[in-house]
Amino acid sequence: MPVEFKDYYKTLGVSREASQDEIRKAFRKLAREFHPDVAKDKKRAEEKFKEINEAYEVLSDPAKRKKYDTLGANWNRPQSPPGWEQGGGGGLRGQAGPNGQEYEFHFGGTGFSDFFEQFFGGRGGQGFDFEEFARQQSRGTEAGAARGKDIEGDIMVALNEALQGSVRTISFRRQNRQTGKAVSENFRVRIPVGVHEGQLIRVPGKGEEGFNGGAPGDLYLRVRFEQHPDFRVRGSDLFYDLDLAPWEAVLGTTVSIPALEGPVSVRVPAGAGKGQQLRVRGKGLPAAGGARGDLYATISIHVPAEVTPEEERLWQELAEKSAFNPRK
């Protein structure tokens, strides 16, 4: 099964030289447009949103981006460019057996493309060591039945899925070791309400086949939250960057900010400073024990890039009259 090259720069519509900031802006713009919650054509938007998310996942991480840039046109040649290993330690896809046999795993429905899984999946070196694996196999044969190996992979979970739970259809394709035939299988996995980043979802019996009548291994799906255009996640709390004009911060105001179940209004107290966090209780993700995490709006103050002569005059007047000195 050939893996298709993904042009992540094209997906986000940025140049290869784009700065981190440009990439983030492009992601936010597209993610807002195609977020399945707001888009009209949901099916199409969901596909597109996943692509955008995957592209951002790679390009927003300097290390992953560098690795991706090194791939270039030779991305699928057997000779690996320097700096990364064949197969990228992919948790879901592996090649090369003891006698030149190959076995591969492919997953669908996890939210990540085969391309992503091949090069960026199975982070943290949790990938297989197929040689060791084969050795274990032979040992297993001597000892009788041996249990199949567990397989680990990432699954992209939307924040709304963590909130409401969902059922995902996973398609799983692998090559049978004995016959060399590709076997494909579909099954559904319920994403429980309140999953958290990094949580493992165990799917029993969907790992590698056992040997000599041994039981099959399990499949572990590691939850990775989508990159949301508005929120960042920490534990069960959500963080929203609230941009304010200087006068809004000084005088205080009420603003409407997005939350998972629709906008909420937040009162910004007068004299709010940069980095100050305003808490909206219970608007985060589900936490342990049926509670809900909180939504935090982190204040950041922005100044206008251009001012009209009138505005400049007012700022000037303020500068003259104000006794405020932030350096004292």
Binding site: Q20, D61, R139, D150, T169, F187, R190, L200, P204, V233
Partner: protein, 110 residues
């Protein structure tokens, strides 16, 4: 325990796995699920590589999904790579730290 279940929208005849993240497993079930021996599991507990769900002095031994995952990984690292418990502990600590830092970096990335 994850099991086949009939769900309202699952009309497509596909097997559905319904993991229960909070569920606990007895030592016997864990032996069955992981293929590890009773003795090994107790040693892993004692050396702090896995933690039973409750204080074993007060309640019978019970383990969560995370423990099952870790037992399987310990068994794999021991049998396939010949790593001893001290090495495995180091690997686990490093992996945890790495994951925590990755998560942290992802959070703070502009």
């Amino acid at each position: 325990m994850a099991q086949k279940k009939d769900l309202p929208p699952a009309g497509r005849g596909l097997q559905v796995f319904d993991p229960q993240p909070g569920s606990l497993y007895s030592l016997e079930t864990v032996i069955h699920l992981t293929g590890a021996s009773r003795r090994s599991i107790l040693i892993y507990c004692k050396s702090g590589l896995i933690r039973p769900a409750a204080d074993p002095k007060e309640e019978p031994l019970a383990f969560d999904e995370e423990a099952i995952y870790h037992i399987r990984r310990i068994e794999f690292l021991r049998t396939a790579h010949g790593i001893n418990l001290a090495g495995i502990r180091m690997i686990f600590d490093l992996m945890n730290e790495l994951r925590r830092l990755q998560h942290e970096m992802r959070f703070f990335r502009p």
